[in-house]
Symmetry: C2
Subunit: 815 residues, 2 copies
């Protein structure tokens, strides 16, 4: 292959580096107004009244709107239509949108916001999972309903969990907490709306999901869907934070409709923290039963999610905290209980790894503890029980290829993990660094390993109907130019380039011959958007189908002209050559002209819908994917026992990507995931005091810089998965997952203490070391789990080829 598998630059690389790319905030339309949103200063309150008269009188103000102008609720999931573009009766977090203004400039709009007078009646705020479960606190949604502040409760049992624990030779229980954090994209959210003379609404927005925004606009504005066009501008970082439809998008549209002028709303950095939809804080309890060799016989997993003020993707997130544990190692019996609460904080939603980094952290640390308890080698023990290729999990997920065994081998070999782990002792303290004096405490070094898996796109769309998840139309014309139309949204991951690579590979042409049009609900066929790591596999498959439909015609026309069989023709280097007689060849453009004359306008259409693989139970839609990626990670850390500072010295990560369509991009995605996992492990968190976000700025919200980011050694493992284009699987999210547990396990290796919650701050290290010195439990982590009566689980029979209990009871040939 000439293009696939090659480390080529992105097709938009030049435009990005020289500043030619126009992001949403670079859009300026004639007569454009600027919108600003007034946000609640209360975490939980009733709106008694809003007086906008003074604001309306301010010169330069064109419109002032409140909740009564946009009363229709919206939300991303059909079951969570609980948001208002501007709050009608209640506010539910500090930052909740209350009113909006369109004015000649942002200063005037801001001044007008100051002139809007809102009268609130405060309610008791609910700021934690514990407070949410306290029924004496005020209810956030649907007051009077008996769920109080519980948003979603799930209880599922796969296989015979009691038999699994009965078969266990060792049972281990532990609790974990994963703090919430946010995406921190470089680009703030921005939307520009225009309502044309023809009564068509166009919205440009920095969104990962233009089609879902389209749907929310149609619903809230009462327009025909066909009158609305949503164009995703190039996204300057999404990571899941631009996957919901947002208030400011709807508000900008409404203001444009009311004023007849274009309206731009660009969020400031503080507002981005309010609409973040980031990582849920999750409290977890794990109980597993294993045999002496580490084989899991039963797993019981409980998650408590702090969802913030609205539903967002939270129902899916809740399921995700349970669904994918089974995809990594063989688990013959599994019980999952999940619970999501509403709190008076900005709503949480999907962030890279959506709902899975938290349980992965818990599970991989839990396994590390078991390995130490049973004196097992962490990599060997994990490798032994990796899921089988082309098998099913106990919860009815379909495994295609699994390269996790190879991933483990590769990182172990590259990092020298086994050798160091075998020594069973911390590495020697390094000599003081230049400029460092004598030290009280030692620098201890350690290594830890963790594994993970992730989806290549979700099995269901977030619509009510069956549909293609991705569609691609390819047009080829006599200039030799190929236009590719696809709704996919390039959020920096390179999805536009992916389309170009596939077309260039299939047709044997240059990347410069390919012109990609994407992310426009009117111009391009539907594509669900850039989330759940779905684009490479789903859009890629649709693109392969579309381009091959055109290719077939071109080859037929050329075969006829050259009087050779079409099967003998190869497309390469802008030529079509007969393999059997290389003198018979024709230039690319001439071939197109021939085919165009023979068949008329040349186009091909492809679309992709994932295989139907849901299990026979409610909630089974969350988890299935055409394929799963696998990662293994080794982290090497230095812990300063005096300050508690943890330095990650190096990360080795091996990722089974199926096929690296562009290894450069996959490495980039992997490094980005590692960087983000590092931040989550050591420093990132959302911190609230009295309902107010304490650190809503890039200065105060701690995130790693290049200085904190270690050398990352990425190893790509290719398993050529049959479900993906050229064998590809996901790459953009999975590699984040094993990083926090690998670091936590490395810290244990270094200093013998367990930090069972992230972020792992120095004070937690010091506290654990202090306890250890006192001879107490050397652990920082949740001490207790809420006492909740989960409903009786729905029992689900595992599928035929899932891992089975009672292995030892089967007759074994020679043992």
């Amino acid at each position: 292959m000439r293009v696939i598998g090659k480390p080529l630059p992105k097709i938009d690389a030049w435009a990005k580096v020289i500043g030619e790319t126009k992001f949403g905030d670079d859009l300026f339309l004639p007569r454009m107004l600027y919108g600003r949103i007034l946000r609640s200063t209360y975490p939980h309150a009733r709106i008694i009244g809003i007086d906008t008269r003074e604001a309306e009188q301010l010169p330069g103000v064109f419109a002032v709107i409140t909740g009564k102008d946009l009363p229709i609720k919206f939300g991303i999931l059909p079951s969570s239509q609980d948001e208002e573009a501007l709050c009608v009766d209640k506010v539910r977090y500090v930052g909740d949108p209350v009113a909006a203004v369109a004015a000649v400039d942002e200063e005037t709009a801001d001044r007008a916001l100051e002139l809007i007078h809102v009268e609130y009646a405060p309610l008791t705020p609910v700021m934690s999972i514990k407070e949410a479960l306290d029924e004496s606190r005020d209810q956030i949604h649907a007051e009077g309903a008996d769920h109080h502040n519980i948003h979603k409760m799930v209880s599922l049992e796969f296989g015979d969990i009691a038999a699994g624990f009965a078969e266990a030779e060792y049972i281990h229980e532990s609790s974990y907490f994963y703090e919430g954090n946010t995406h921190l994209p470089m680009e703030q959210h921005v939307a520009v709306a225009q309502f044309g003379a023809d009564e068509h609404l166009t919205l440009w927005s920095s969104t990962q999901t233009p089609h879902y925004v389209h749907r929310a606009l149609a619903k809230t504005l009462g327009l025909n869907a066909s009158q609305i066009r949503v164009i995703a501008t190039p996204v300057g970082g999404g990571f899941g934070g631009k996957t919901d439809p947002f208030s400011h998008e709807i508000v900008a549209a409404k203001l444009a409709m009311l004023t007849g002028r274009p309206v731009k709303i660009a969020l400031n950095r503080e507002e981005v923290f309010y609409c973040h939809r980031g990582r849920h804080p999750v409290l977890m309890w794990v109980k597993s039963g294993v045999r002496r060799d580490g084989e899991i016989t039963a797993l019981h997993f409980r998650t408590f999610l702090d969802g913030g003020a609205y539903g967002s993707y939270g129902v899916a997130t809740t399921y995700y905290t349970g669904a994918l544990q089974t995809v990594t190692y063989k688990i013959p019996a599994y019980k999952f209980e999940g619970l999501r609460v509403f709190t008076n904080k900005p709503p949480c939603g999907p962030k890279r790894g959506h709902g899975t980094p938290q349980p992965r952290f818990a599970f991989e640390v839990h396994l590390d503890k078991i390995a130490h308890d049973l004196d097992l080698d962490p990599p060997e023990y994990r490798k032994k029980f990796v899921v089988d290729n082309f098998s099913k999990t106990v919860n009815h997920l379909t495994i295609t290829t699994c390269g996790l065994g190879e991933c483990i081998e590769k990182v172990v070999e590259a990092s020298g993990f086994a050798t160091k782990a075998e020594s069973k002792s911390p590495l020697p303290t390094p000599p003081p660094r230049a400029g460092e004096g004598e030290r009280v405490g030692a620098i201890r070094r350690g290594m830890g390993l963790a594994c993970s898996s992730y989806l290549s796109g979700a099995g269901l769309p977030i619509y009510w109907n069956e549909m293609p998840h991705s569609g691609v139309i390819v047009k080829v014309d006599r200039s030799g130019s190929v236009a590719v139309f696809c709704g996919s949204t390039d959020i920096g991951q390179g999805s536009d380039s992916l389309l170009a690579y596939i077309v260039a590979e299939e047709l044997g042409i240059d990347l410069k011959d390919v012109h990609v049009f994407t992310a426009d609900t009117q111009l391009t066929p539907v594509d669900l958007g850039s989330y759940s790591s779905r684009v490479t596999v789903m859009t890629g498959n649709a693109c392969v189908q579309a381009v091959r439909a055109v290719k077939e015609k071109i080859l037929e026309a050329v075969a006829q002209k050259l009087m050779v069989p079409a099967e003998s023709l190869v497309m390469q280097n802008r030529e079509i050559v007969c393999e059997d007689d290389e003198a018979r060849r024709i230039q690319w453009q001439d071939a197109v002209i021939l085919a165009e004359a023979k068949f008329g306008t040349l186009s091909g259409t492809g679309s992709y819908k994932p295989p139907k693989r849901a299990g026979p139970f409610k909630g089974s839609g969350v988890g299935p994917s055409p394929s799963y990626s696998y990662s293994a990670c080794v982290a090497e850390v230095s812990v300063d026992t005096e300050t508690g500072n943890v330095t990650v010295d190096k990360i080795w990560i091996a990722h089974d990507v199926g096929r690296a369509i562009n290894p450069l991009l996959v490495e980039g995605q992997t490094e980005g995931s590692v960087y983000m996992g590092l931040g989550e492990a050591l420093m990132e968190e959302q911190v609230f005091r009295r309902g107010v976000h304490k650190i809503p700025s890039m200065l105060e919200y701690k995130s790693p810089t290049t200085l904190e980011t270690p050398d990352i050694k990425t190893i790509l493992v290719e398993t050529l998965d049959p479900e993906g284009p050229y064998g590809a699987k996901e790459a953009g999210q999975g590699p984040l997952l094993p990083v926090p547990p690998a670091i936590a396990n490395a810290i244990y290796d270094a200093i013998g203490v367990r930090i069972d919650e992230v972020p792992i701050h120095p004070e937690k290290i010091l506290k654990a070391l202090e306890e250890k010195a006192k001879g107490k439990e050397a652990r920082v982590g949740p001490k207790e789990i809420p006492n909740v009566n989960f409903p009786a689980p729905i029992h689900v029979e595992p599928p035929e080829n899932a891992p089975k209990l009672g292995r030892r009871k089967l007759p074994i040939a020679s043992e």
Copy 2:
């Protein structure tokens, strides 16, 4: 039908009337430079040297280029690649581009032009057909070659011309001259070029033919065709004047490539007169043989075209001055000799009616003379010999439907022509108008009739290969929104609307559901452009094919859902209804969602190539068309015998449009054609003195205003032609043709003098009246025809079902 045949507004009407439409000159790109072109001040000269040093030093100047930077010649026809974007060795008319500058603003660029010093060596200018045939004048092209200043010579004979004249009972010869004139679009030409970081060139241009511009750019700039994107901006008037690729388009592109910044070149009004490519001045000689009843037995037609300095479409124009005479009335023997010369004037090309208004003027006045000579009723006589439906002409053109007979009846009835003509005398002089005193001369009124026919698109593309002439891709998505992609170029005639009408009709949806993307060589499939009245028939046919491909899928899905046969389903009012059981119905959007789930992404592709109908001779490519429109026109005029002023009081025009897809637009096109024909008949002309255009401004170039435009009564005749979508034929050009001869014939009816040349100025009227008063020939027109030795004609046998000679010799049943 709900949409087709209804007088709906254009889909871009609102955007146009409120100023939302962005024309080329409304484009402003960041860091854009302004280009200006230095033009020759000599009509004919050698370039000795160009010194650009001083201009290059001027602050604010980014680039100065001359012919050496763009040495590759271009031109629209394969056989006329004779233009240079900037002249290399010679200039050939005042206005010929010589050098160009890109600067920060237009003022700086203009100042820089003044600092470019060009040394010329003047040559003898050639300013008329007569001078062009004078071999003592300098040669304009390919000096030394033996054609001297003759560009093209054609000599063809169809059938037995000698036998035809031998069979004639009356032979009439006359000469005519049709002065050149220009398109005078409201919008001046403008091009904006951008050469991106990705080495792709984008050119926005006010052009009727983006694909032909694309080809010229690829050739002259040495870029891969697939690296170039041409986007036609909304055209503020074209009329053929934006059908060539132009110097300023290539120059803008080159300057953008050299400077790395976008470059805009907007021509000023004077420059538009230089690059006009307007109506050729044509001198004509007609000889026809007729029977006593007016039946034509032989026609001999000679045309001499003054082509200006370059080839442009001139070879085609030359053929067009001969090809279509046979399409209106039965002609059994036809000889055509045509000749085009180069002169040192701005090159002529296609203007509304391309090469046919001139011979139509000559032929229809000629027929009027014969009618008077033989005492025949002009309409009855014409009607009798109209071509037959579904026949062939002597020169191998295929007639499908012909509604000319009905057109004649309709205008005669509406105008009362027969009654007035029968009176054989001028109408009574009207009383003096208010404020007018006693008059010396009388106001005489008269009526005249003329007919014509025109093509619905040309049979051949202006490429070297066979190809689809129009392609359409239709995409339908779950919002119920339909995107239509087509390369057609809306130049105000409403071609974008046409696509929307067809899609809305076929799918039973609203125009607001349809979104049209056109005129972009990269985004849309090929369409040859807006010329030769080709769009409605060719693009329309491609669109019908494309939309029906999608429709079929939608109906299949709905039929399955409703459990009824697909044939019983009707699409109307955004619903699909079973005709046999109206309770079985489904909403449009739901139907799309069903079909999308069943078939994947919904798209349909259609393309159109006209039937191959060329005759067996060289040059036979000019003339064939899928179908021909027909017009009949009656003009009523008042001639002031004192001043010579002619006032056109009313025009009745009947046009056989096959089917009026939107009668409002067809009427608009007809009225526009009549208005333009009126200008050509009475006032418009290009006037040169010493090689310089005397009146290159809207102030001085005389064109009718609303004050001179009479009441126009348009009558649409529908023949439902099998070649066109829903039966449609052309409408935008044909109705111009009969207007000048109808006016000339009306003048004769009013005052008994023949003005055999246009424009018909008052001084010509007065001169003819003076001659008449003296008892001399009451005629103004060419006295002599150049004595040219045309080559021996190529003799072509007429096809089987062409009009035959020897009718009277056939046995006739009962006579």
